[in-house]
């Protein structure tokens, strides 16, 4: 019964595939095995690393980038991407379900360590040092940050912003009580989200509706949300400048964060020096522009995150 169903399905799928040619475009380029290439070390083959990530596009792309880099370095790699929010991911590292995951230094400081948003260092290295020290207190550790930083942002349609004369988040004062805000479920308790808007901007909204992060532009498009929590690295912002705007975070409640790799000293010990070296090496090319490009390929062009990550590794000369 199972075999027959599988057969039928395969048949169905192959028909779909056979109906057309392969029109992959060769969009990537890079040197093969250049100076920056990740070198596979056979000694790493005995070590299994489980790469985790949170539950949205950028995180899944990052998870793939790190997983493929570690694989290139010779490690046995498993993936547990799309875990959930930061709290779920942190628990997963602590319990050993995953070896590590990418976290924004700002999120770590504000969500985990209750640092006031205005006290989050603007300098990437300082923020990293502070987060690392805090992580170490709870038995975790972190590797140095990526070049790019991302932050939550309050976004709206350009026409809403024009109608209501909105440029900054503070401009919402007096208007927010008649506006509906959409954000991820955990937004309710995050300082760089609803909790911060209430606490630092003193804003009250007509309604806050928690929805899946993937719906953050859909709810604006359908005129259901007046305001929606977006990410500054979102591809949609660059691709549709005439449609969406971000309100300036004038009270600096939504600090930008560079990504740091959160792991445990035990894993570092077991995996050896290539672990940190590979992570920091592969993220060197992750500038804001590159990260936006990678996000766009998944979010807009709906390419599989694994492929997009592989294209990055190859184009940047990390893999042959």
């Amino acid at each position: 019964m199972r075999a027959a169903a599988a057969l039928l399905l395969t048949l169905l799928l192959s028909l779909g595939v056979a109906a057309c040619g392969d029109d992959d475009e060769g969009t990537t380029a890079g040197e093969e095995g250049g100076a920056g290439a990740i070198v596979s070390n056979p000694e790493n083959g005995d070590v299994t690393l489980t790469v985790g990530s949170k539950n949205f596009t950028e995180q899944i792309v990052l998870g793939e980038v790190y997983a493929q880099a570690l694989e290139a370095a010779g490690y046995e790699v498993k993936k547990r991407l799309n875990l959930g929010s930061e709290t779920v991911a942190r628990e997963a590292v602590k319990s050993g379900q995953i070896s590590g995951y990418p976290e924004y230094a700002s999120t770590a400081l504000t969500s985990f360590f209750e640092v006031d948003p205005e006290k989050v260092p603007a300098d990437a290295t300082e923020a990293y040092e502070e987060a690392k020290a805090d992580f170490e207190e709870e038995g975790l550790t972190a590797f140095p940050p990526t070049p790019f930083a991302s932050a939550n942002a309050v976004g709206t349609l350009k026409k809403t912003a024009e109608e209501r004369d909105l440029e900054t988040v503070s401009d919402l004062e007096g208007q927010s009580q008649e506006m509906t805000l959409y954000g991820s479920p955990e937004c309710r308790q995050r300082i760089d989200c609803l909790a911060g808007l209430e606490q630092y901007y003193d804003l009250k909204f007509k309604k806050f509706v928690p929805v899946d992060i993937g719906l953050r532009y859909t709810v604006l498009d359908n005129n259901q949300a007046d305001l929606s929590i977006l990410f500054t690295t979102d591809a949609q912002l660059a691709a549709e400048e005439d449609k969406y705007v971000i309100l300036e975070d004038d009270k600096e409640v939504f600090p930008a964060g560079n990504v740091i790799w959160v792991t445990t000293p035990e894993v570092v010990e077991e995996a050896g020096p290539d672990y940190e070296a590979t992570i920091t090496q592969v993220q060197e090319g992750l500038t804001l522009k590159v990260m936006q490009e990678l996000d766009a390929r998944v979010e807009l062009e709906k390419e599989p995150a694994a492929e997009v990550a592989a294209e990055y590794l190859e184009s940047a000369g990390y893999t042959g």
């Binding site: 399905l9 109906a19 250049g34 993937g214 090319g285 590159v290 490009e293 390929r297 807009l300 709906k302």
Partner: protein, 247 residues
Amino acid sequence: MSAAAAALPLAAAGEVGEGFFRERSADTRPCQATDALFCFGWARDNIGEYVTPAIEHVELVAISVVVGFAIAFALSLLAHRNAWLRPPLLGATGVLYTIPSIAFFFLLLPITGFGRDSAVIALSAYTLQIIYRNTMTGLANVSPSVKDAARGMGLTERQILWRVELPLATPEIVAGLRIATVSTVALATLAFFIGAGGLGEPIYEFITFKTNIIIAGGLAMAIAVAFDAILLLAQRRATPWRRAAAQ
């Protein structure tokens, strides 16, 4: 790919070349970056991504229905012999049927944990009542005169059950199995919540992308239809006398 590499200036390690960045404007946007209902080009290029979830889905349903059938069938035989078991069994399977699968998954989480086990237990528990009920109805519908005739021919009660009653009840039993299977295919789209994979996973991954939802949802429905057809064919082959009677 190497041809393209030669044409572009070599980038420093860790830097992607300028050619890496795509032009994006309203006119050059591919279908999948728009609000379109269905993007055939994307579907064609990405259908391969659905093979593993679809196979997982088929496996999950097959295992759950087989387990559910084994238990429900055994319960039916017990209840067939012991009438006093019928009300409690109907009640118990009814409760299992009524508990929404997604709640059932997470009720099992502290006991059987994250993964396929919890999904199989919840889904097979859901099928019990449907299969049990139909089997009991099928057995009850066998006319007493047929059983008397069998007794007259010297068959033991056990032989009557296996050679007369169950074959005659087969259409009802398969009807129950078909309903249970088709419903389980639909419910199994929720199994990814408990980490059991299946077609719910791709649906959830691009939850705003209609093409994706249509492909994954369509595959689930196709799997349901395929299972249904297979069961119907199997029943026709197992009960040739019904065809003879029809002719």
